[in-house]
Amino acid sequence: MSTKTLDASQTTRRNFLKAASGAAATALTLGFEWSGFSRRAAAAGAPAASAAPFAPNAFLRIDSDNQVTVIAKHLEMGQGAYTGIATVVAEELDADWAQIRVESAPADAKRYANLVFGTMQGTGGSSAMANSWNQLREAGAKGRAMLLSAAAKEWHVPVEELTVASGTIHHSGKNRQATFGALVATAITLPVPDHVTLKDPKDFKLIGQRVARVDAAAKSNGTAQFTLDVVFPGMLVALLKRPPLFGATVQSFDPTAAMAVTGVVKVVQVPRGVAVIAKSFWAAKQGRDALMVEWDESKAEKRSSAALMDEYRQLAEQPAMSARKDGDAVQAIHDAARKVSASYEFPYLAHAPMEPLDAVVKLGAGSCEIWAGDQFQTVDQANAAHTAGLDPQQVSIHTLYAGGSFGRRANPGSDYIVEAVSIAKAYGVEGTPIKLQWTREDDIHGGLYRPMYFHKLEAGLNAESRLTGWRHVIVGQSIMAGTPFAALIKNGIDGTSVEGAANVAYAIPNLAVELSTTQTGVPVLWWRVVGSSHTTFAVEAFIDEVAHAAGEDGFTFRRKLLDQHPRMKAVLELAAEKSGWTQGPLPKGKGRGIAVAEAFNTYVAQVADVSVDEDGQVKVDRVVCAVDCGTPINPDIIKAQMEGGIGFGLGAALYGAITLKEGRIEQDNFNGYRVLRMNEMPTVEVHIVPSTEPPTGVGEPGVAPVGPAVANAIFAATGKRMHVLPFSRKA
């Protein structure tokens, strides 16, 4: 347990705050500063007045008008983080849900670090609720304790005689009651308690309920504000012309034709290309279309996807780094009565969030203000500072709703933020807000894809059809290499390349998982569910092939191998039961497949039902999903994330591919890069395992099993295995 001090101006106002005690101690120390209070007081240019809000910690502010503001350190990109965060604080505070609003936190690693990531502020790895759980419960409970103390002080009664519910504190003996807002003036004079008792989960009123999303109304009437919607007087819009090949650079450019477009203000070269700055999007777009740039392609990546996959296929036959080794898999497979082998090919994938990347930057003398659907706040802050020639604390970030991300906005190089800052710097007029807007083509061509991978698997069955050996070779680029996250690469193994494979849950006595890391000029990034976006497919499609070779059905075969993993086994059984798995085979032309995954400590099993017509057209009719994510904070949001994850993963399995031809990306927009549409969405049923374990994430894990579940269903319907992703691509 550590002790965290406040800066001097804060300590004069408040008692020195100690780290909280108890099991949650690591989580607690970070938040407790008087952020809202001091910021507001500073903004007002005056010390705290009686109208000052009550801000007992970095996550909570209560105003005298009874508004409770929860400060979210995580990005809301659709996954429901704002609602989940507010629910946890409101629960322990005993606030009324109607008095809650959510505000995004500023970039500040000290107060708002993601405790799973360590010292950086950011959202990802399905960690928003998992890392915040104890921290936010403490934040709410401390606020509640102080409000109770305030009421006790005002009414001269013992705290023990007070009750609190729905944002109101009562004293039945004196027949008094007060709202939180009415107690603010007294509460701000009190010390923050060192210790608070958290609620017994059986007393939860909001956690576990279908609490309405805080953002649903604004997102149903057009008023939710995205970065696209940020407007300032005098704001300019920039579009950037980037190289046609990864690794190409600007050789020369001629701005004449671009400058001739009405509304174009300036054409500037920046490290990533040539930007056209204009008074409107349309002018910038026409200007960029007219702009002439000569590129130096001498150092560019010029290979094609097919050539890369050929190289990967050959690498799979050569020695690789060991990611897991139990027993002797090679010998066991050699000695096996029966051998099974298969390979699986995965393309590059774009995230393609609906809101193309965008950021607004205002550079001033010694300051940089950024508005964005920012996912890696302190990383972006540092990269923006470096680009602008400022210190990180001179960069402020306003995190807005992101129109989707799926990992794209969480990038170590902060590509779109750095572009926007570099353009504002090159424009050179202090105080002019500039919005960098990507088009869909920029997005599809823009790199930072889910890497391409080749997987080769071999297994051995003994005479009793027991699985005795399993060897899994993965070939592909590292996501973390070349980034500050490279420090996490251990013994040549980037964990994001092998997660879902190296920790395969099945009991296999002889197991080898190997990784061959490749290098290409194509920039890559985590994509929703990261490694499990390919490893789960390989493992779950292959175990199905092994089960078939063993003469068993996919469910029974998996189940027998999961005794050491009760939570995984439980979701497998639940999905099988709810889908009617044991009721026997489906009629001709239909098939049912199962798959299971663990990602970010959440367990998901899915059963897919498909119809395949005479032309081989696949229609996914239904997906039954069982999920164990620990304590379910909001069952409706969990359900929504499973539904959405299934649609996202299914689109990728059926159609998703970014391909290169001599270095050029062959897709441009949603015509070439096909994603799932309404008429292709299956019926989805979600079953949540009741649990009192700490909550884990739901944004990503639902994506992983759907591809292999569908592939296994297609096999059941047709006898054909899917070895090349996407399924629409002919091998």
């Binding site: 997102k219 149903s220 409107s280 969030p353 609906m354 649609g647 949603f670 989805v684």
Partner: protein, 153 residues
């Protein structure tokens, strides 16, 4: 060159390049940011607005093409089906990231204004041009049915 049309019930004249897509005219000149930019090629539906009551993609519709006509954006929705759709969207908690939902709601409203009791096939037909990367499709379908049912009451 100015273009005159009726925007959300109000006679409006926008002095802009007549070749400018309606999307950018309503967003940047008329100051109505509810209509979103997703693809610029009528492939995703995020920019859907109503032109004389029909759902169209404003990203490929020139400003000059709406002269003298009625344009409705998410900000101007008033019809009974529109209110039913928006209420159902909140009731069924449809939005996730929310970015595509203006377009989804405009398509769904146009559908219900023409066909107050759509089948699943009707919904597929009217809504498959609207992409949602969060894949909120199941809830969109359920919300359209719920809105349809609420109008029967």
């Amino acid at each position: 060159m100015p273009t005159s049309f009726v925007l959300n019930g109000k006679p409006t004249t926008l002095d802009a390049d007549p070749e400018m897509p309606l999307l950018w005219a309503v967003r940047e000149i008329a100051g109505l940011p509810g209509t979103k930019f997703g693809c610029g090629m009528a492939l995703c539906g995020a920019c859907t607005v109503h032109l004389d009551g029909k759902a169209i993609r404003s990203c490929i519709t020139r400003l000059s093409a709406v002269a003298g006509r009625q344009v409705t954006t998410i900000e101007g929705l008033q019809s009974r089906p529109a209110m039913a759709v928006q209420a159902a969207w909140v009731e069924l908690q449809v939005p996730q990231c929310g970015y595509c939902q203006s377009g989804q709601i405009m398509s769904a409203t146009a559908l219900l204004e023409k066909n107050p009791a759509p089948t699943d096939a009707d919904i597929d037909g009217a809504m498959s041009g609207n992409i949602c990367r969060c894949a909120t499709y199941s809830r969109i379908r359920a919300a359209i049915h719920a809105a349809s049912n609420s109008m029967k009451a």
